[in-house]
Symmetry: C2
Subunit: 383 residues, 2 copies
């Protein structure tokens, strides 16, 4: 396996784009990534598209092909990938494999979704018969995770609320974010109860948006003369179906990150910043522990200490995360990569983590039956 | 890139399985492939699932994970792939890349769909806004292909009907086929008109079903002691958006097959048998030409001569093809691979092509806007 670099990234703003379709959003992200990389679109040898909801919500299949035609790209192999919230990060993993294995010198990976739905419509992602039709939806599942974490470690409602407050503060600094309004702990706690103990402002929104990255070999990134951001670790893992599992952590995440640290030759102490899948505020606390940013059970203390704020020891979700930046399902994984690339290049104006050199992105998605349907860890290093 | 082998295959029967879900069908195919290969499921390092309609028709996402949990497999990377009719063959292509690049020694690739729909429901695969909502559905598109081919080359209605007759004859010999009733040319021509000149018996059905293959390295196939069927060529191509294109052939197919022949070091004259995407009878005639089995415009003559029947010079769709074997959209590409593997191992009882040594599978899928959204060519060689 040879080194793979992020030559360029692009993103739409995340939020409500009721007047735009998947092609338009995806096309904007891809066009921006091509321009950012300074690469001719005809050099791109393969395309990988992450999309989770196109078929279900827009009756649209073949989204990747339609997006690339929108920017005048055809003839190259194109693969559409679905791994729920991890669709975009799975597309990234496949593109990384394509370049790392020497098959391609330059590929485009992108994610796009239109997830804004009429108020009250549940997000039907998962095993239809086993979960969705039984009412086992995301807020209920993550409420059980929160209850278990509170019982096992004494994690408090205030600590969970502080995650929301931090990420909404960060969202105010990010021009790509959906929500740009600060919140207080009191407001989070007083917002409508969705599934005890999860309140409305502890939930991420379902958003519209797209993000893209150009991946390439060392020779290509040298020629392009771009700052060198290397994909030093790329892991895709799937949860085990295990009805005796402990809801207070995700074993699959712990295994995946151990593998990614080994690939990249770094450990949690080397990280400058992290983006995680904070679909609900409790998730971020569990991910602190799963990624080794603190010991198991210490996640609540980490947010109390302010360690994960911009300027803290290990900033998490400087972008605002899913909670404030927004969550266009299949696009979110690549939204993280756009953010981390800007951070590693020192271009994240207003929310820049000073001296950022090693960054980690974590995404998880899918069924609640197992630990997770898919978990991706990516580690980026500025060279 | 190192050699990749098909260690085992499995398939459900294709047809109406109204009482079974995606997991059940997919699980049967995967379990059969594991048994056929004689490999322990714990040796499988990655899974690639082709599924086109799960989200749209069953509200099911993450199909690959659910199928593998059904047979007790978790923890490995799993990717869900959508490329319309070419979903299964795209999963195969990704799995081939995984083993060929040395990343994995053994993977499972599978396809599954439940495509049987209430009578009169159109198959909504394509660009929703540009095609489906405008009524540009498959029978209408392929009727234009037929009209153009008839005008350009004098291809007759009888020649098209003969494709249906041949494939239904073959279906009678295949225990996996949906239709096992012979048809006459007169019956095909007299069946209800769907889109002039395409009649009902010139159309494939939308079926339920699943098929799977275990791919592995040379070391693994040697240890398993299985007959050695090598994936000598694997190509995924995407059509160009080109509103001046000629409807009488698919340029993308011609480009893809040239690349596959080069990879495999064979030409059309070396082929023992072929499986093609005969969604409508005209397709098979155009594919004869596209794959180089005859010159452009000579496809009608090839069926007249009986060259593509079992026992002919170059049997095409000995399985019955999509027309008679059935078309469970995302599974069909791997259904072809199961059939060709059995043929190359001399196990296709009743429909065996004697001395089969080199086989080609062709699938195409997706939008009608371009030549095709996705086109796969695979070449298998018995060693």
């Amino acid at each position: 396996m040879r080194p793979v670099y992020v030559a360029g990234v692009g993103s739409t703003t995340f939020g409500k784009h009721l007047d735009r379709n998947l092609r338009s959003l995806g096309g904007e992200a891809v066009a921006k990534a091509l321009v950012d990389a300074g690469i001719d679109r005809r050099e791109i040898e393969a395309g990988y598209c992450g999309n989770a909801l196109g078929a279900m919500l827009q009756e649209e299949t073949g989204v990747g092909q339609h997006v690339l035609w929108e920017v005048g790209m055809g003839g190259l192999p194109i693969v559409n990938v679905e791994n729920a919230c991890a669709s975009g990060s799975t597309a990234l993993h496949l593109g990384w494999q394509g370049v790392a294995s020497g098959q391609y010198d330059a590929v485009v990976v992108f994610g796009v979704d239109k997830a804004v739905m009429p108020k009250g419509t549940p997000l039907k992602v998962g095993a239809a018969e086993m979960e969705v039709r039984l009412g086992d939806l995301f807020p209920g599942y993550f409420a059980m995770v929160a209850q278990k974490h509170m019982e096992a470690y004494g994690t408090t409602l205030e600590q969970q609320a502080k995650v929301s407050v931090k990420n909404h503060d960060n969202g105010c600094l990010n021009p790509y974010a959906e929500f740009k309004k600060p919140l207080t702990v009191e407001e989070v706690l007083a917002s409508p109860m969705i599934a005890d103990p999860i309140t409305l402002f502890s939930c991420c929104p379902n958003s519209d948006g797209a993000a893209a990255a150009i991946l390439c070999s060392e020779a290509v990134v040298r020629r392009l003369g771009k700052p060198r951001v290397r994909v030093a670790g790329s892991v895709l893992a799937t949860g085990l179906y295990d009805n005796q599992r402990d809801f207070s952590h995700w074993e699959i995440e712990e295994k995946a990150v151990a593998k990614a640290y080994e690939q990249a030759g770094v450990g949690p102490g080397d990280l400058s910043l992290v983006e995680v899948h904070d679909a609900f505020s409790i998730c971020e606390i569990v991910h602190y522990e799963g990624l080794g940013l603190c010991a198991r059970g210490e996640g609540g203390r980490l947010i109390d200490e302010g360690a994960t704020a911009i300027g803290g020891r290990i900033p998490v979700n400087a972008s605002g995360g899913l909670l404030a930046k927004g969550h266009p399902i299949g696009a979110s994984g690549l939204g993280q990569i756009a953010e981390l690339t800007w951070q590693l290049r020192g271009e994240a104006t207003g929310r820049q983590v000073e001296g950022a050199r090693v960054a980690l992105a974590q995404m998880m998605g899918g069924s609640k039956e197992a630990d997770a349907r898919a978990c991706n860890i990516h580690i980026l290093i500025a060279e």
